[in-house]
Amino acid sequence: MNWSVLRLLYIHEIKMLVRARRTVVMALVIPAVIMPVMIYAQKFANDRRERTLTATTYLYAVTGPLADRVRSLIENTRQAVAENKDEEFDNLRQFKFDEIRLANPRESLDNNTIQFYVQAISGEEADKLPSTNDGSGSRPSSAPPPSKRLTGVPRVTVIYRADRDGSDNAHNRIMELLRLAREKDSQLLLVDRGFPGSPKGLFAAQDSNIATNGQVTGSLVGRFITLFLVMMMFTGGAVASMDIIAGEKERGTLETLLTTAVRRTEIVTAKLMAITCVALVITLIQGVNFFLYIRLKVIALPKDFDLQLPTGMALTLLALFIPLAATIAAVLLMLSAYAKSYKEAQMYFFPVYMVSMIPALASVMPGLSLRSAIALVPLANVSVASREILMGRPDPLMIMVTFLVMALTAVFLIRMSARMLAREDLVIPSHSEPAEFLGGPALFQKRVLRWFALMWAVTFAVAANVPQLATFQRQLVFNEVVIMIGATLLMLKFYNLDVTDALSLRRVKPAVWLAILFAIPSGYLTALAIFRIVNKVIPAPQQLLERFAEDFIPAGMPMWQLYLYVAVLPAICEEIAFRGMLLNGLRRRLRPAALMVSVGIIFGLFHMTLFRIAPTALLGMILTGIALMTGSIFPGMLMHAGNNAFGLWAGGGGLGLETLDWQYYAAAGSIFALALWIIYRNRTPLPTRSVYRGA
């Protein structure tokens, strides 16, 4: 790397950027205007709402045979609350409400004359009514779960309209009041009967919080700081990045630059530095704005907010945020390198931006510690690390690992950007593609992903909205036959594809079949083992796993039908669609490893629930690998059907394969590896993308 050339290029980039005055003004002015307005709008709206709700006097009615008792309870409790200066009763003290006597409270509620009414009925009457709920209503999660109403106990019901803000708010307050009234009344009953002392004094709990305000604040801020920075760096960096390569391509100046005596890596590094610089400056300005808003009280901070940032902590954070900025800049640079124009770059920006926010939310997840495999996941590691640092509990070794991972990620992305500058089709945007003219299989390769995106969209939309297909069998048949096979037939016709070629309907060597038979159970166990390992890092919630099992295996279905729907049908239809059409559409565009990952992930995405995506994607990758090695979908069909059937059989038989000892998984892994090796030795592959590297 020639540093003086790098410096020259970098200064050139910054100069070009700064001279685009309008862009610079927009990049600085717009966020500086939007953020305070949005924050202020939020505050204004909330404050206004609070004022309105607090200033309103809510009208209500009381009905039922026990109305008088309820009235007196409400009155007494109101007095007690008014006399009690405890902060916890502030809400109730501000609550203004008046009773009015009405003939038809329900009608008055519907026409908004009253905000709620209280119906108090005797125990006998309540026993006759069907129980509609167990009294949970909308209660805060910290409150103890309710017990049931005992037979013969009078029932006091607050009837309200949740579709009206006033009614909903009033109902919350009166519920609080009534529960307090009940508690006090019950305590009085006890005292009257001779309970020694106030029941309030029973089993009192004191809290002893050993965290300092600084640590609590650090934990709160740490949850979101990485997300905030990622958002700011992305939007700030985009100002420079959209134009830095994509715009240059449009103007034709990229070719000019590429014909000079500098290396592509130097060009890319200089552009990266420019994007990083812009991103950091804009982020810094936004950060300063943010502090200004706090000083001006536009943003209200919670009580006891006490962020402590000693120099060491600040420097450590900076050390992490610099590679973060470089990584984000590298992502933006790759986007710009890939796009053919400024407009196209912008189009790719939004989904990439949204996807990048997901790992940045890692610190929101409870139970994640940096001392785990999360340290190896870019962005997520910075998120967790910064939270731990701000809490005052840095893990130096893992912070170094995080730094290294981020630095390596940035370097990797830079190299990929540099490689993109070697691709003619990306450097020269007007490069005409013969596929457009030739049509047929050539055009199919370009369009195949769009077809699958459309298939996914239709599957998703129908699953979400057509109740007639809500049963397990119907949904499966629709997805497999109508979508998978239907789309396959359409594609074959539209692009005039040869069926045998497009679907890889080829014979394989006999040894492959034997290997598949061994691969079925061993592969299943190996996948289980991988899943267990992953689960240690990011545990999947038990209830979701249970729900996954429920969705997958409906109760009460005859076994033969289960095997047909769960094993045979998906194996045939999905192999035709994914390892047939999709694989053949992509195999000349991607190298084998990338093919396996892409086809696997796309296959996984068709299984909608989040926790089915990962294991299905893994199966998809294995099946793709087998299809690539054998040049046929038939072994994959057997593997797929066998895998699903094995899972059904093992789950139904309660074999407990998820909790085996590790030596069994190791043995299964070895057998699986052997099976794959046998397939490899007997391979009859299809041609994939050549490994030619451009200049």
Partner: protein, 251 residues
């Protein structure tokens, strides 16, 4: 009979921030005869493009008149454009339309009889050799193909007057020759063509009459033979330089 193109004392003044008022075209007059190729020959900044933009009604003259087939460029601009085809380096094609759609669109929008548009489009496709690419989007075509589509859309509505403003700029020798051939063919169809260029050989090859324009003024207007006789020079380049120098001395 009146000449199809009549320009009398046409002027155009721009206001430039740095230079103040700039007279880009200074009281020029000329006329084009039916079926001829009339060349406007001048260096960059001479006023060729401004003149042609006034004739095509993109710009309004500051003073003077111009008539295209009896339609005034100011008072009847639509009538002018109906009978005019304008081709320039600044008139590009819509990238997302196919070649066929482009020609069809321009035929219709220039009010070519609707019942004959399809036939006209097919004729132009065949004539300009676009059959293989007729249904490909313009953005996918090479520059040579784009140029052919561009000429086809210029004459899609079969105008009697066609303006070519430096049509061969940026083209290679073979493509430039193709453009020149197209212009010759159009002339043989009886169209009146105004052709601007700064390439002497093009003007020599194509133009029936040549107007030398410099500093917004026409310095001379005659056939090549006439110009040679007036100046005593043989090569158009020498003729051009002579007039320009004389023009500068006059100023």
């Amino acid at each position: 009979m009146n000449a199809p193109v009549l320009v009398r004392n046409l002027s155009k003044t721009f206001y430039d921030e740095g230079r103040g008022e700039v007279r880009a075209v200074d009281s020029i007059s000329f006329e084009c005869r039916e079926g001829e190729v009339f060349g406007l020959l001048g260096a960059n900044g001479a006023g060729k493009t401004t003149t042609l933009r006034m004739l095509s009604t993109i710009l309004a003259p500051s003073s003077g008149t111009a008539n295209i087939l009896g339609h005034d460029v100011v008072t009847d601009s639509q009538g002018v454009r109906k009978n005019l085809g304008f081709y320039s380096s600044t008139t590009a094609l819509y990238p997302r339309l196919t070649a066929r759609e482009t020609i069809d669109f321009f035929a219709r929008i220039n009010q070519y009889p609707a019942d004959r548009v399809k036939e006209r489009v097919e004729y132009l496709i065949q004539r300009f050799g676009l059959a293989k690419y007729a249904d490909a989007r313009v953005e996918k075509l090479s520059s040579g193909m784009k140029q052919k589509v561009s000429i086809a859309r210029t004459v899609a509505h079969d105008p009697l007057i066609v303006i070519f403003d430096e049509p061969t700029v940026g083209l290679d020798v073979l493509n430039a020759l193709e453009v020149q051939e197209s212009i010759s063919e159009l002339r043989s169809e009886g169209k009146t063509i105004i052709f601007s260029t700064h390439i002497m050989s093009e003007a020599e090859r194509l133009c029936d009459r040549i107007a030398i324009i410099h500093g917004g003024r026409i310095l001379a207007s005659d056939t090549l033979a006439g110009l040679r006789e007036s100046t005593g020079q043989h090569y158009l380049e020498d003729i051009f330089v002579l007039y320009v120098k004389a023009g500068q001395e006059t100023v």
